[in-house]
Symmetry: C2
Subunit: 290 residues, 2 copies
């Protein structure tokens, strides 16, 4: 089972065309933003958004502005996470991180700018009922704030999550889970679907976020630097608690198998007529090697 590369190419082509600066004087800032945004990758979050549009039998092109915004926000989070005061990582996808390439001041602002431009892009380009756009933006803001991505990163760098498996799950539910979940859920909101229709999709998306993180932690200890595009074993060197440190490698693999089964079950209930691209992404997240 492959990855929905057609959707990924659509996302890549759309991101490539994006410009943020209305004036050449801020071109240097835009260069840093595009350096990180166009560094490649599987584009899992925006592809998830477009795959969700297909699953509900809607034209994915209608959701590209939102999908792109999610990738802008993901890129912003990577830039800030890599900063010297945070994880202090020099390499990302095999290239120097934003602050190494452009300086720490520009990297902080590139992250700040990507977040603002993500909202601006949705507000200027996303079509739909105004009420639905507001609901989707509300979920996007919540998923990326104190009770989402930023709060999760705080728990991570400040080691503020409670001990044990529950604390680890809550950390990752905020840090990575909510934005992955929002990538699915916001498309349903934009499409005007009601609570009942989104229930199983939300369960699917939450499980997918868990699966993503378990596999990420496994890859950090099993794959080489060449494959990962960043130093192997960096979680352990940073003293980070992971699914592997908590449950051992075999335990983490068993959790991943449970998680993918849960995700597939939820998806089957969400989309009884099938959702081949979402099934592909699920399989990819489970079996990926980088």
């Amino acid at each position: 089972m492959g990855y929905p590369d057609g959707l990924r190419l659509t996302v890549d082509a759309y991101l490539e065309e994006l410009r943020f600066s209305d004036d050449a004087i801020t071109g240097g800032l835009e260069e840093a933003m595009r350096y990180s945004l166009l560094a490649g990758g599987k584009r899992i979050r925006p592809v998830l958004a477009l795959a969700t549009a297909r699953a509900i039998r809607r034209d994915e092109a209608d959701f590209l502005p939102f999908a792109a915004a999610v990738e802008l926000i993901h890129t912003y989070s990577l830039i800030h996470d890599d900063l010297p005061a945070m994880d202090d990582d020099d390499l990302r996808r095999g290239r120097p991180t934003c602050h190494v390439a452009f300086g720490e001041d520009v990297a902080i602002l590139a992250g700040d700018g990507l977040y603002a431009e993500a909202f601006r892009h949705v507000l200027e380009h996303q079509t739909g009922e105004p009420r639905d756009i507001l609901r989707a933006l509300g979920e996007l803001a919540a998923a990326t704030g104190v009770n989402g991505m930023v709060g999760g990163q705080y728990l991570d760098v400040h080691e503020a999550a409670p001990d044990g498996a529950d604390g680890l799950r809550r950390l990752h539910a905020l840090k990575t889970g909510r934005l992955i979940g929002a990538s699915v859920e916001c498309v349903l909101l934009l499409a005007g679907q009601d609570e009942a229709a989104t229930l199983h999709y939300r369960r699917y998306a939450n499980e997918l976020g868990v699966l993503f993180q378990i596999v990420d932690d496994i890859l950090d200890v099993t794959e080489s630097e060449d494959v990962l595009g960043k130093p192997q074993g960096s979680d352990e060197r940073h003293g980070k608690r992971t699914y592997v440190s908590e449950f051992g490698l075999d335990g983490a693999r068993a959790l991943a198998a449970d998680s993918v089964a849960n995700a597939r079950e939820a998806l089957a209930e969400a989309a009884p007529r099938g959702a081949s691209e979402l099934e592909q992404i699920t399989h990819f997240i489970y079996t990926r090697t980088n």
Copy 2:
């Protein structure tokens, strides 16, 4: 002529009640956010927003969620501007800056979190027609992105603005002017006013942003550390171009006098029946000493 302290007290009371974290585990992040948010100050931007509501004969209480969001965003910009990689300031309003009090990692995330929570707060609490809320949010995002606040800060720290007075004006129009302008303009958008009605208000708000910055630059060289709550002459030490470095102290004072006259003229056209709180704020910004 005084400052509209009634509106300021309304803003302060509203900000004091705000909570961001749904879960105690992210309480440490919220503490850093509230430390900077509740450090006092004149609350010029949210007070401007509420004063604009009064000028168009609307109940200011209806615009408090938006007004608060602007102050959250302003606070986020101060936290990031103070970071070691940016202006490296240890004092702000007479207290240790956020990164000195909580560490650089938490300060970066406190800024990130305040920005996200600003949007979330508007999306969850601001009343109005959905279409009008979207227009206001679009302006708020644009005013704080690459073509606004973040772009202006880039020009400032990276010394990327063109030489001369024009470059200086463009820098400050982005860095401080657009958010001050948005504090006025977004209230008109939320109130459903059309382009024609907002024209003179926009001219007023833009001029107020210019005035604010000229006076800020003058105060940096004329007022003591005790009055400013931060080291005197810090612009010069940072090698920053200011209205004083560009035009001299007398020249900057003359520009301020021109600017306040322009602002008052625009306001008189915007609000022919008078707008006493906006007149007070204009006077305050011109004559303030810190």
